[in-house]
Symmetry: C2
DNA sequence: TTGGTATATCGGGAAATTCCGATATATATT
DNA sequence: AATATATATCGGAATTTCCCGATATACCAA
């Protein structure tokens, strides 16, 4: 867990926004087809739509968040679903109190 | 308290190092004259010496950390002493659990 | 006032980040 | 196979960050 990489990942308004939206996917991404559910998270396209930035940008932001360990992803068919890694935030919260 | 600014401030190895050193000034800055004490923190020159970077860089890093609210400073004579703002870290730790 | 020391600010080159459009890849459908 | 859709990757312009040397400012001492 590279502290600097984590803080860099969090140093962007759009990425913070995405992380926050992913706390309540059913509320923030009502557009995601009902039959899909939110167990695996939200697909890239839904997130992209909501940010208004381009698909390539959001795809890169999401994989950056994943490299930092803040989200996890699953590929299902042509979709990739991203969800928060809550454990990482708890670890980070503690890390700030003990190691920063 | 601007989240992005705080995370940017933490997105640098040297600045994280400085914050960590400031947790135990007496251990990490034995060079600071005894009669001065550490109540107000550590002066810029001591921090600069320990990092090996230039004076201007460290002066800027410290004021950046201060703008982010992570440290506080006092000017005493020709010296400026910097110390951690522990409350900011506690707030940040909580903020990660609730707002990120 | 003159000179010395500590810190802050300025200007800038190199590297990293932001975000884009174009293109490639993966999967599903027909 | 051909087509369509979702995502990933590539190349790059604009901006920001990193860190420097030079210079300015603040304070102290003689």
């Amino acid at each position: 867990m590279d502290q600097v990489e984590i803080f860099k990942a969090l140093s962007n308004k759009t990425r913070l926004q995405i992380l926050n939206w992913l706390k309540e996917p059913e509320i923030n991404f009502p557009g995601q087809a009902e039959h899909v559910g939110f167990e695996d998270g939200v697909c890239v396209g839904q997130i992209q739509l909501k940010t208004g930035l381009t698909q390539s940008t959001i795809s890169e932001y999401l994989s950056l968040l994943q490299r930092a360990g803040l989200v996890q992803s699953v590929r299902k068919g042509q979709w990739t679903y991203y969800r928060r890694n809550e454990a990482a935030f708890e670890t980070l919260s503690q890390l700030i109190l003990t190691k920063v």
